[in-house]
Amino acid sequence: MKPDLHTLGPLIALIALIVLGALLNSAFLAPANITNVLARSAFIGMIAVGMTFVITAGGLDLSVGSMAAFLAGIAIIAMNAALPGLGENWGTILIGMGVAILGGIAAGFLNGALITKARIEPFIVTLGTMGIFRSLVTWLADGGTLSLDYGLRTLYRPVYYGGIGWVTWPIIAFALTAFAGEWIMRHSRFGRHVEAIGSNDRVARYSAIDVGRVRLLTYMLLGLLVGLSTVLYVPRLGSASGSTGVLWELEAIAAVIIGGTALKGGRGRVWGTVVGVLILSLIDNILNLADLVSPYLNGAIQGVIIVLAVVLQREKRTADER
């Protein structure tokens, strides 16, 4: 595949943003700032990579933000519960991680099974589970905040803040996810099937592809990545509440769209998604560093970028089809 303006578009925008940021504030390129931006992108980023598969297969998942909050909540509860028996050690934390990851896969399975087995529209299923997960975590926290035991929190902290030099664990996890995601989309049978289903699921069925199974797997993959991102998120604040992960689903979907994946499915671009995530968090960061525009306008600027990205995608299609 030759890179056209269409694929390069988001990349050029990203580079322009970096140049702009560097011109506006010298602190922008400081390692501490870069680490900060990348680490904070990692949560949405990993989720967005999973979302790329779901959307490419013609699906959608609105529940990921609430799911992350719910998984953080049950992971914290599990760790606090295991503390008296196991003590303040990595064993306890591994239990929390296991709960988040397995819970994520199970939640993805729930979404996927309702969509493929019960044949309900993805939008409706995940709108429903979005409310369910959100309400469950609020209920578990009794309207307040679920806090991880102080000692455990200290032990767990390095998973977010530590790493190899400036490169913290979340950045490493995000990078690995992105590489794996790109590889799966481009080079594996699964990725090929995902694109085929999103492009025309009837053709996929007539090509002996188990459409339901592949779709289900995309939701489970996304659930797994939500779980992993929760594992990295919990040590950052050590708590979860009803307002954890709010609007993450929209940011993830926006990143996917900016990256050039078609919302109607059939064409998945994992690298594009990564670029999309970075664009969104750079805008946020630049607005915070420079006094040019109020950071409160962040949402407006992101909105413009999303619409622009979609318009550019359409331009290409009409040029040779009319």
Binding site: H187, R189, R192, E195, A196, S199, N200, V203, R205
Partner: protein, 494 residues
């Protein structure tokens, strides 16, 4: 007197020029047939005339004056109506809504009653039993084509452009189509008609233009060219022995059906396909041929017993069928056969990916497979990196055939093998089918083209209303016998 004409038209897609200096004139009350091989540029000419593509060079003349249409609807406003080779119907809307799409009668509130009534009248004129309220997605391919024709008729065209309208129709509907064309001709409509069925070109056309590789190579008036002349002009060489010699099937059964039923569609069908045999299945639209095929390969739930090489097999889905050595080539190329927005390689290998690697797909091997298939099936793609939707219709069909044959199946069910394929390639495909049978594979060929079933098959089963109505073999394989069985008319042929 000419209504619409092309003058010195060339068309390029990127660096590739597909039409070279084409002149063409459409006169009122005349049927002008456009013939040529797959990829010769027929559809491109029709799209240019209909305002869907711009010529790179040259002029479009409407009533002698140069015009430029910026879109299909703009051309339609001038009375130029196109029936495209590929369907342009909204699958989730009703037949009536499609017929009136873009020109719905009524003020603020749509006049549903008028739409339904007028649609019913049009459909009655076409002698079909389609209800105006049916959704397009629930219609068979031929029925959808009849809706396309109804839609075009409803537009009161001055110029009607038809791109292979008969390719997806069966015997009976083709007759209705001819009647309508005769009516329009009498009304003074100028018609441009494209077809790969040369017998119908000879029957319908007042004037014939032959296109080869984007150039007009011959123009003739009615009666000046025989079918053989046309074929030779299209292909650039003489065509001999159109159908291959019949084979000598072995007595061993390759596929054995006992009481196969697809609820509501196919009732209690039993048949035996022998090794090395080409078994034809004929029948009218809606007689259950496609449903039978889809029932056999697990695309529809079916009851009954299926034996492959004498072994009873359970086929619950298409994967099971593949594993038993069966393959099915669908009649619905656009909606079920190919991913039109994906590359040729991706389409070719889609149903047989495991062969290209357990984990990492070997893209080099896939490219090689495409090169091989391009050669074996003579797929003419100006650029191997293009998407399947940009291939000409016939070349899409060849790609689909290549895709079906990739897993090397032993029992192949082909639904409409030569839909939209030119004479030269038809001959190649017939020879290919026969070679497969001679190599010991077994084939079922479902076809609406009577001459094809008779010329190709060793034996023909005729279906009617979901049942096998009869079998004809040897000397009995005549159009008359088959039609009688298909229509349920008893008694001896006159």
């Amino acid at each position: 007197m000419t209504v619409l004409a092309l003058h010195g038209v060339s068309k390029s897609f990127g660096p590739i020029e597909v039409l070279h200096d084409v002149d063409l004139a459409l006169d009122p009350g005349q049927v002008h047939a456009l013939i040529g091989e797959n990829g010769a540029g027929k559809s491109t000419i029709m799209k240019i005339l209909g305002g869907f593509l711009d010529p790179t060079e040259g002029q479009i003349l409407l009533d002698g004056k140069p015009v430029r249409f910026s879109s299909g609807p703009e051309a339609e406003a001038q009375g130029i109506v196109v029936i495209h080779q590929e369907f342009n119907l909204a699958a989730d809307l009703s037949v009536a809504a499609n017929v009136f799409l873009g020109r719905e009668p009524g003020g603020l509130r749509l006049d549903h009653k008028a739409m339904r009534r007028d649609t019913a009248a049009l459909l009655a004129r076409l002698d079909t039993r389609i209800s105006p309220d049916t959704l397009i997605r629930d219609l068979s391919v031929p029925d959808r084509q009849m809706v396309e024709i109804a839609k075009a008729l409803s537009r009161n065209a001055r110029v009607l452009i038809m791109d292979e309208p008969s390719a997806v129709l069966t015997h009976r509907e083709v007759g209705t189509l001819y009647d309508q064309i005769d009516r329009l001709r009498a009304d003074g409509v100028a018609i441009l008609y494209c077809s790969h069925r040369l017998d119908e070109v000879a029957h319908l056309a007042d004037r014939i233009t032959v296109l080869r590789d984007g150039r007009v190579v011959r123009q003739a008036m009615r009666g000046e060219m025989t079918e053989d002349d046309m074929a030779a002009a299209m292909v650039g060489r003489e065509l001999q022995d159109f159908y291959p010699p019949k084979g000598r099937p072995s007595p061993d059964p390759a596929l054995d059906l006992q009481g196969l039923s697809v609820p509501g569609r196919v009732h209690d069908v039993s048949l035996t396909l022998h090794r090395g045999e080409v078994l034809g299945i004929a029948g009218l639209v809606g007689s259950g041929r496609t449903e039978l095929a889809e029932g056999i390969v697990g695309l529809r739930s079916a009851t009954g017993e299926i034996r492959v090489n004498g072994q009873k097999v359970a086929i619950r889905n298409l994967r099971d069928a593949f594993d038993s050595g069966l393959a099915y080539l669908t009649e619905d190329r656009k909606e079920a056969g190919l991913l039109l927005d994906k590359g040729l390689t991706q389409n070719l290998t889609l149903a047989d990916l495991p062969r290209f690697g357990l984990w990492r797909l070997d893209q080099r091997a896939e490219t090689e497979a495409l090169a091989h298939a391009t050669q074996e099936f003579d797929i003419r793609a100006p650029d191997p990196a293009m998407i399947a939707g940009k291939l000409s219709g016939g070349n899409q069909q060849k790609l689909l055939l290549a895709k079906t044959m990739l897993p090397d199946p032993q029992i192949i069910i082909i639904d409409e093998p030569t839909r939209g394929i030119d004479v030269g390639t038809k001959q190649q495909i017939y020879a290919f089918i026969r070679r497969l049978a001679d190599e010991g594979r077994s084939l079922i060929v479902i076809s609406s083209e009577m001459a094809e079933v008779i010329g190709l098959a060793d034996r023909v089963l005729v279906m009617r209303e979901g049942r096998i109505a009869g079998e004809v073999t040897g000397k009995d394989m005549t159009e008359d016998k088959i039609v009688r069985l298909a229509m349920g008319v008893s008694g001896e042929a006159a």
